[in-house]
Symmetry: C2
Subunit: 328 residues, 2 copies
Amino acid sequence: MSKLVNGKPLKVIPWEECPKGFDGPIWRYSQNPVINRHPNKVISRAFNSAVVYFNNEFVGVFRGDGLDDIPHLYVGRSKDGINFKIDEERIQFVDENGNKLPETMYQYDPRVIPLEGKFYIVWCDELCGPTIAIAETSDFKTVEKVDNPFLPYNRNGVLFPRKINGNYYMLSRPSDSGHTAFGDIFLSESKDLVYWGKNRVVAQKGYEWWCALKIGAGPVPIELDDGWLIFTHGVNRTCNGYVYSLGAMILDRDNPGKVIYRCKDLLLTPEAPYETTGFVPNVIFPTCALVDSDTGRIAIYYGAADSYTALAFTTVDRVIEYIKKNSR
Amino acid sequence: MSKLVNGKPLKVIPWEECPKGFDGPIWRYSQNPVINRHPNKVISRAFNSAVVYFNNEFVGVFRGDGLDDIPHLYVGRSKDGINFKIDEERIQFVDENGNKLPETMYQYDPRVIPLEGKFYIVWCDELCGPTIAIAETSDFKTVEKVDNPFLPYNRNGVLFPRKINGNYYMLSRPSDSGHTAFGDIFLSESKDLVYWGKNRVVAQKGYEWWCALKIGAGPVPIELDDGWLIFTHGVNRTCNGYVYSLGAMILDRDNPGKVIYRCKDLLLTPEAPYETTGFVPNVIFPTCALVDSDTGRIAIYYGAADSYTALAFTTVDRVIEYIKKNSR
């Protein structure tokens, strides 16, 4: 069985035991959603967001759709990882000299990656269409934007939480400028987080129908002794719209462009009312996974129906066993 | 008036004087098309191709659509730049060790860039969809493919023919996986032709209808004392399909991400029978521009109706005057 490495204890990780008799790989938090509509005066819906534990609190970056339906990014904080207070002021990005940058048209679906003592935020920004942006912060107060890593159009970028063989790596899902009807997971490499290259395909959309339209990376990869556990979103195109489910795979530890195990079955699909009904019905979109290295507990934050933030739980042993048993 | 710099004499440049009474910026070769359908046994149509003058002949890389309609790349040669003999064997790309690489599903729309004593070929290759690829050669016999510079999906990449302020630069037009209904010209920077970054928008599709759907770079940029002359393709989306015309702009010499002059009017649009009729009617697609520094003559090779290769002519003075006079 794979074992966690480079993990940290997180005694206060949100947690609820698996319901008796439930035998799936991941179970929902009974009090979902944890962030309901209108979490504050300026946000209609907060979802597809990511948190870390820092300075004795959960702090993170939230996608907040405004009253004009345009998403922007906000910092949110919580003592328990469940009850969040989200700022009403958008994140004001600055350049390397601390000067305020002009706001782009929209920003959405942030990931927060602890890397080399700082936190990197990777999200979908606007440059003639959706494109991946990066910023770094040490305190979630000053947030410095660096150069966009890739050309448009692209979404769902997530950095690995450490260098691998001396290089930074980022997963992404190149797209078009609309409701992209295709999508595969790619890997890119950088020596400095400025110039990127050696682009490789990691995982293509599947023959399995739940991910037959597209597949993309979700939370920050979780390091195991024999690989990187990643949770993904996979998309089924039905006659009445897209359905987003949660999937998982394990990538080679030294060569993260290589898939070792790919779970052929989805691990969680929209079935709860807050997942099947909302602004965009039938969406489960994982963007954050916290891990407690002492117990192997995993708390997954996911966007539900582009309307709510919800929580689901599993353990390292349970989910890895499931992935390996159901691997292609 | 802008003047050519870093140009070379090319006494044998294909040429025909401007027809009497014609007052447009660019005139067609009277014997067009120069490459007709079925130029050899394996190619149905050769177009969107690029040549250079090397070792006392015109040699270049041709897009050849096969009898299965799939395009691949072939070397072609000519003594006069007009009558070409195209190989029947596809280019066999090798890796840095000289080992043959497996052929990708398709390759199209090559540009050939003289750079630092070698020739770089930049084309649209396949990696889960269209993506830009690069190879280098010194003799058009051994052609070494290097890493793809960008993530998919992207087309119409063209390198600048020299470093600018110590960096390599490439124009490209990020796209989707189909008949992309959007497109702007972007600039990317590299120190080593492997890792790319600092991606910037150069020119967006226009309010002018001839380029209102998309705009992309064409031949290798031509250096002037006060800028880079680039020919572009601009696309109008009509009720019966796309129409591709030839446009032009001048970019800042030291900062090629900055447009100095952008011609608001097209310079050549499908009107001749071999442009308005063919496999894809109504396409003029410039991919190569040769220049004779002694006379300022320019010979533009363009794909016509995705069926033929055609030639058009202008001079540096004439085209620059037109661009400046009709600049936005």
